[in-house]
Symmetry: none
Subunit: 184 residues, 4 copies
Amino acid sequence: MAKQKTTKDEIIKKAVEVFRKQGYYKTSMSDLAKACGLLKGSFYYHFASKEELMQAVLESVHGYYTHKVFSIAYEKGKTAQQRFEQLFEKQAPIMTEDLAGCLFGNMTLETISSNPEFKQLLQTFFNDWKAAFQHIFEENHSTEVAKALADQSIIEVEGALMMMRLYDDKTIFEQACLRVAEKL
Amino acid sequence: MAKQKTTKDEIIKKAVEVFRKQGYYKTSMSDLAKACGLLKGSFYYHFASKEELMQAVLESVHGYYTHKVFSIAYEKGKTAQQRFEQLFEKQAPIMTEDLAGCLFGNMTLETISSNPEFKQLLQTFFNDWKAAFQHIFEENHSTEVAKALADQSIIEVEGALMMMRLYDDKTIFEQACLRVAEKL
Amino acid sequence: MAKQKTTKDEIIKKAVEVFRKQGYYKTSMSDLAKACGLLKGSFYYHFASKEELMQAVLESVHGYYTHKVFSIAYEKGKTAQQRFEQLFEKQAPIMTEDLAGCLFGNMTLETISSNPEFKQLLQTFFNDWKAAFQHIFEENHSTEVAKALADQSIIEVEGALMMMRLYDDKTIFEQACLRVAEKL
Amino acid sequence: MAKQKTTKDEIIKKAVEVFRKQGYYKTSMSDLAKACGLLKGSFYYHFASKEELMQAVLESVHGYYTHKVFSIAYEKGKTAQQRFEQLFEKQAPIMTEDLAGCLFGNMTLETISSNPEFKQLLQTFFNDWKAAFQHIFEENHSTEVAKALADQSIIEVEGALMMMRLYDDKTIFEQACLRVAEKL
DNA sequence: AATGAATGAGAGTTCATTCAT
DNA sequence: TATGAATGAACTCTCATTCAT
């Protein structure tokens, strides 16, 4: 009875896994609690609602991407090619783990029509992602062209993640990354 | 392909709309019944379960695509360019209506991990779609290359549909279609 | 599994009893369902929420009072004294049963500060009650005086019902009724 | 009468406000803790349970009334009229603040049927109140009559407080006090 | 074919309470 | 004294499903 010390961050970490695999609606608070070794009721000490939890999850993952993944696009002393390679290397395990794909992409298709509360968080994630790609493309292209290439690249990566999940085949994702790098 | 005549088909037609917009888990049998002007209980005369209904829906939509959309790829006396144009023209309103995207793509991301019952139906749909695209690409390319281009095309279209939904912007989808045609 | 035919009216009848005795917040939907021989979930077929049920209950009881109790105040061919007597005779068993008092008085003290949704229903009930008393008093008094006497009478009756409940003593209520009749 | 010095009393003071406004069941331990600037868990250092807290609250308020309000009824060298006036003057702000009425009256209607633990505390409060009024009435009336007038007076005051809360009108309460004084 | 009514499991959430620190 | 964390029961409500009529 009362002791451990489950931190908000640990809960978020577990929740990311569960949400990525099962999706938002299919995942119950019981599922999440179980994954954290808590009882359903105990969960609400840390997060006031499922929605609030998801919001925290999206912000946390977004923060991780900003600092650990997208930031690679802006690193000095590296060629565009190198930055793409390193960025994809960093990104790949996160998105292919458990063949669960991209939390933001999954959430977009699942909730965009019925839960507008997440829309902004989803959009800003993709905006930052696009900005990072655009920055790399600008090495070789005009702003305009770089922007268009970035948009197309995210489209390809997300589409590829969908096909990866459908066909249980991570190479689909990897090849899409290669095609993105080739656009340079 | 399931094509009776009376009510079953009408239910399916309504269900497609609701499922496309709201997704599988978020849509309740009540929602579906209401959309059909039926009472919840009456629904079960036509379909034994939500899953069975979704299966019928996927089959029906797949059938429609096979006969009305993918078939365009195989029409004689038309250039590859013409066939792509006509195919996209047919496809566009279906996928952009209500900004709800592609039922099969939505279902893939939502259910692939937690409801494997749909996997095969989803895969065969995408297989047929790819085959149609491949057939057009083969006009100008080797089988191998045509297959790769088809795969990439579906990836781009599905990725674009996701971004269309996220940003409320149908042109994202339209431009992806143009890029596909340009691969010829 | 599925058969009976619990009507909305029967549910309301049972709910009145339970709510009068236990109050609004202390009464759970389980309590109410049990009292009706239903399962918790079945309840929601008939009423969409606890609040909606209570609203229906208040309206139903109000209707009963209007037609069966307050109407006595307006009956022709009877003296004011007779009308008071008959009105109280009708009213007494309803308010003293189970020593549970007046549903509207109970609800007023319990919910007026925290559930403003009921305020209007409660006020209109008391307005009608006052109007009935005022009508009787007008036999012997000016409109103004009759109104004041009616206000005081309801105050006395409700105060007496509180004391009746506190001391388990129905005579407290009966004597208050006598005092009201003496104001004539 | 419970009068320590430090925090227990402050908690009680805050709790009275919250309970008077929101009632017993609608008020959660969280609400109370928040009102005291404490965490839920900390509350249990001071009071073992919600019920125990309410008991302490009732005793404390009863003590206050005994010493500060009812005592006025027994003051020497003042006419009955003066004592009533001063007593009501003291009582009025307590009962009309926030239009929340009388804690004991509210508690009576809310808990008498379902929480008999409070019954005695509620009864003794009203007994003391009646005794005070009776004492004043005995100045001009026989013991018997004074007792009856006291009973009626409390009934009127409590009934008036209910109507005050229902109609947001403090004058209803004030006029009831005047009518009580007129019974002298 | 369709309806109205019921079911029972489970959803998200709240709450009084506990207790190691 | 007070806190942070956990508990577990209960709560309101939803849902897929069943079935007599």
